[in-house]
């Protein structure tokens, strides 16, 4: 009953926020409730009968959280989880309020929360978790954290909240250092030597352990072949289908598998778990495919250099690309080590940091057709269907010379029918691709009327 009033106020605030702006103001109820009932978050998070599970780290936490939730639900466990966009204090409180009954109680036997690596330590300052699962430490939003060691420090504080176990990536040297302070049980997961060797650019961790873990130490990703991977669990190979190609998805799956095994104990069913993992909907790169303005469009979110590189490698080839960088990237310096040359050509560069993005692309040898800082204009132009008979674009023929430079010739290109489209990519039926940073993603979604991805 203690939080009935706060819950009611939170509901009213949410209603008011939604009346004012459809779909808007999702963090405001959380803000208000945190002010009038500061103990609510702790109370709600510690009231789940099977406890609270935290998933955090630089990269892969959303995927790992979704995989873990799917596995637990397949075992018949009622799970409360947060959308990945609500992983800081206000948003988290708001998402709890959304699910809460009138007394403020949130249904579910267990809570599995994705937590922002920067805010997690502060949110969890006085809250205990049963299990904390840590994915990795990457050079990530350097302009926000200034130093990856700061991220390690924050994850160390988060790990200290675990009362039963910490599940860590055995290949990540930053996490290995942090593990020496852990006083509860440690469960490990990681890549086999073969999987590691097959990732020519490495796995992207800020620091990597030099030796791979043995199969007796935890869950090992034994192999990946396209979207099929094998997890080695206590001497038994378990085949799974990944939501998309990429060793990082297999490692996310191993993290989720190891955490589910810890949480369920004797109730853990390997087959139920691998089936739940394999049934997850496919995703494209680190992104998704949407249907908008009568066409399929791939949306790719840039979160850090490692995922940016993976995305560039998967997008590479003939595609029609819009690249948007927003004000969330204060200083894009840390993205410069990414090899963008695989993009070849970008039709439009947009966003409040469009000049910075164009500069980065130019020095990667990527041809930039146009810079349009106004994202709304850029989106309208990019998604407009080609009109027959109109000269809609200048086709750029790029050819890579031995020196690595790109020689450019420009050819006027007339569209004779809508089938023969604007660019080489569209002519081959490839979907348009929007690569954006978090802020540009929010603006793009709002402009196109797309709902937030969970």
């Amino acid at each position: 009953m203690r939080y009935a009033l706060a819950t009611a106020v939170g509901r009213l605030v949410r209603l008011a926020a939604r009346l004012r702006k459809a779909g808007g103001g999702s963090a405001i109820p959380g803000f208000v409730v945190n002010r009038i009932a500061p103990g609510y978050l702790k109370h709600a998070l510690e009231s789940f009968p099977q406890g609270l599970v935290i998933v955090s780290g630089s990269s892969g936490k959303s995927t790992t959280t979704k995989m873990l939730v799917a596995m637990l639900r397949a075992h018949g466990v009622a799970v409360f989880t947060n959308p990945s966009t609500a992983n800081i204090r206000q948003g988290l409180t708001s998402s709890l309020l959304d699910a809460a009954d009138w007394r403020g109680r949130v249904p579910g036997e267990i809570a599995v929360l994705e937590m922002d690596e920067g805010h997690g330590a502060l949110i969890m300052r006085d809250i205990d978790a049963r299990v904390v699962c840590l994915t990795n430490v990457m050079v990530d939003q350097i302009d926000r954290f200034h130093d990856s060691e700061m991220v390690t420090g924050m994850l160390r504080r988060l790990a200290a909240r675990a009362t039963e176990a910490v599940v860590i990536n055995a290949d990540d040297a930053s996490l290995a250092r942090l593990a020496t302070d852990v006083t509860v049980a440690i469960d490990r997961y990681g890549a086999s030597a073969a999987v590691f060797a097959a990732s020519p650019r490495g796995l992207g961790y800020e620091q990597t352990v030099t030796t791979r873990m043995t199969t007796t130490e935890g869950i090992v990703v034994a192999s990946t072949q396209g979207t099929v991977a094998e997890l080695l669990d206590d001497g038994t190979l378990r085949s799974i289908t990944l939501p998309a190609e990429g060793a990082h998805y297999a490692i996310d799956a191993a993290a989720a598998y190891a955490t589910a095994r810890r949480l369920l104990g004797n109730r853990f069913e390997p087959t139920t778990s691998t089936e739940a993992l394999s049934a997850m909907p496919p995703v494209f790169g680190r992104g998704e495919r949407v249907f908008v303005r009568g066409q399929e469009v791939d949306l790719v979110l840039v979160q850090n250099p490692a995922s940016f590189q993976l995305n560039v490698d998967s997008v590479a080839g003939a595609r029609d690309i819009l690249c948007a960088m927003g004000s969330d990237v204060r200083d894009p310096s840390y993205l410069w080590p990414v090899d963008l040359s695989g993009l070849g050509r970008v039709s439009i560069v947009s966003g409040s940091k469009s000049a910075e993005a164009a500069l980065m692309l130019a020095y990667s040898g990527v041809v930039v057709d146009r810079v349009e800082p106004d994202l709304a204009h850029a989106l309208e132009e990019f998604l407009a269907p080609a009109t027959p008979g109109e000269v809609v674009a200048e086709q750029v023929v790029a050819d890579t010379t031995a020196a690595g430079d790109v020689a450019v010739t420009t050819v006027g290109h007339t569209i004779v029918s809508t089938a023969a489209a604007v660019c080489p990519a569209a002519a081959t039926g490839a979907v348009k691709t929007i690569i954006f940073t978090a802020d540009a993603m929010r603006r793009t979604r709002a402009h196109l009327g797309l709902t937030e991805a969970e």
Binding site: S333, L335, Y363, V368
Partner: protein, 238 residues
């Protein structure tokens, strides 16, 4: 003839993309119709026969000792290059390692390579933000600073005067240090891409030593247009 730009210990000293300044020099050389290559040097064995420019980037303090070991392996080369006038750009911790040394609050000082005058001294709290510097011939230099220490002993030959930001600190109002063609700066990331006058000065020195002409190409002008727009966001309209 190929212009060869080396990056020192890029696996440790490229946290903020500082080593990518080598790519900026190489691209601008190529756009000017010259041949250029970038050679990553992780140990003395990787050194090419001829070096036309050197980039030393910034890293984390946890890898400071390892980075120092790599630099010590090429210390005599660095001295020779500095004396001969080979342009050297050192950023952040890379610069600190080329100085007399680095001091800490709670640990013994780390001796530097002594290529640049001055030393890095502790500061309470990390210094981060936009950094704008006036230079006598390059004009206004813009970038971002992200460092844990201040720098003293550069008062006699700083890179420039701080207009916005912290720079070397300790009340100096100055940023960076210059010794011949050796530059130390807190301006991290692709400072040469954002500051074409600085880049072309270094390229000019490289070409002069190799007796080849340098004239910026068409794509250089396009890239510099993006740089001007990026600078305008920080400095106001052109």
């Amino acid at each position: 003839m190929t212009l060869t730009i080396v990056t020192l210990a890029p696996s440790l000293l490229n946290t903020n993309g500082d080593s990518e300044n080598a790519r900026v020099l190489a691209r601008r050389a190529e756009w000017a119709g010259l041949e250029a290559s970038v050679i990553p040097v992780e140990s003395a064995a990787d050194l090419p026969a001829r070096v036309d420019a050197v980039i030393v980037g910034s890293g984390n303090d946890s890898s400071l000792e390892r980075a120092r070991e790599v630099l010590l392996g090429v210390q005599s080369n660095l001295r020779a290059w500095a004396t001969e006038g080979v342009p050297i750009l050192a950023v952040g911790t890379g610069w600190e390692l080329l100085s007399w040394g680095i001091e800490f609050v709670d640990a013994a000082p780390v001796e530097g390579l002594g290529i640049l005058p001055g030393r890095a001294v502790p500061h309470d709290g990390r210094i981060t933000g936009d950094l704008v510097v006036s230079h006598s011939t390059f004009g206004v230099l813009v970038g971002f600073e992200n460092h844990a220490r201040e720098y003293c002993g550069a008062e006699g030959s700083p890179l420039g005067r701080v207009r916005t930001g912290h720079g070397n600190g300790r009340g100096s109002g100055q940023e960076g240090v210059v010794m011949g063609a050796v530059y130390g700066t807190h301006l991290h990331g692709p400072v040469l891409a954002k500051n074409p006058t600085f880049a072309d000065h270094l390229l000019g020195l490289m070409c002069e030593r190799s007796a080849v002409p340098y004239r910026p190409g068409e794509r250089t002008r396009q890239a510099d247009g993006y740089a001007a727009d990026a600078r305008a966001v920080l400095l106001g309209p052109r």
